[in-house]
Symmetry: C2
Subunit: 205 residues, 2 copies
């Protein structure tokens, strides 16, 4: 694109670095901000700068938090003998939205991905082991995405955890609710037969 202004070009290029934002979208967003009041724009940039400067992570579960120990970890109402291991804060929000889970969390901060240069040491795995060695946790639920990176991370974590006196489980995989059998992919369908569960345990009653 040929920009009439270097300042405009810089701003567009910065926006275009964001995932899923191309040059055209970036230009649209930048021109939108340009039409806003100066205070609106400085509010926008201020919020980002403050987030980056002041962001803190819960010292127990490593979820994003404004305080040293997050609300969930500090709650008396929750069952801290179960830990749900997730990739990032979005997964915590997704699981909290189900209102089905009352235990604690542990946020890895990513998944093992050799392609992106992310190894086990880049994730919050050591602090997880320390939490488990403290002995209060009875069950660890590995709630990671059903992708290659998720499976690699599950495999790695299982090897690390299997000798500790905790129950290790993974969230159920199978056909989604509302899913029609004829449209389900072969791997999912095949595995959902292989890992079938007794009707009494299926919660379908």
């Amino acid at each position: 694109m040929n920009f009439s202004s270097k300042l405009l070009e810089n701003a567009v290029n910065e926006f275009a670095k964001l995932p899923g934002v191309g040059q055209r979208t970036a230009l649209r967003l930048v021109l939108h901000l340009l039409n806003q009041d100066k205070t609106e724009v400085s509010q926008f940039t201020e919020a980002l700068n403050r987030l980056k400067e002041e962001i803190r992570f819960c010292q127990s579960c490593y979820n994003i938090s404004d305080v040293a120990v997050c609300e969930i970890c500090a709650s008396q109402k929750r069952d801290h003998s179960i830990i749900c291991v997730v990739e990032d804060t979005r997964d915590v929000m997704a699981i909290e939205n189900t209102a089905q889970y009352q235990g604690g969390y542990h946020v890895l901060g990513g998944l093992i991905s050799p392609m992106d240069g992310i190894g086990p040491s880049d994730l919050n795995i050591e602090p997880l082991l320390e939490r488990l060695k403290a002995g209060e946790v009875k069950e660890v639920i590995l709630a990671l995405s059903a992708t290659m990176e998720g499976d690699t991370t599950i495999f790695f974590l299982y090897k690390k955890l299997k000798d500790l006196p905790v129950q290790i489980s993974t969230i159920a995989r199978g056909i989604a609710f509302g899913g029609e059998l004829e449209y389900v992919d072969e791997i999912t369908l095949g595995r959902s037969i292989a890992t079938r569960i007794p009707y009494e345990n299926s919660l379908l009653k």
Copy 2:
């Protein structure tokens, strides 16, 4: 959405104000920025702040420009007796990309839109009239979008300009190149028959 951090929530809300960005996308973008180095984030916010602080508009055509008179207006190679009136800088870029036009521009900075509270006085219409009254311009091409706002603006401009000694034209409307007749909407097709042009003038030879 329930955020575990007020800082995170603020940043997401600021992003979600951008056009076409919902809360989920905003969260994805913010978490992406959070994973970047501090310098990356400050580069991003710095580019936006500088753009907003230092942005200038060409004092002749009102296109975004880093200098007082933009490259196009200052060029000796261009025909300054023709002015193409457009909505914003994106349209200038689009027309420049065609490499079919060698005249000057005039950027309105928007279209008349009573619904959005944008009236003629919010646009760079007075400066256009002054440019035309200077007497050097022979033709004005109204190159505005074929929308209600575009048509309203064209109608308003035509009334303002019709007594000046300039030729007023609008860009051609009709079926697009590559367009198959059976899929063209009725209004476009009907008008393209009503505004048919002699084969000799059609550039199809």
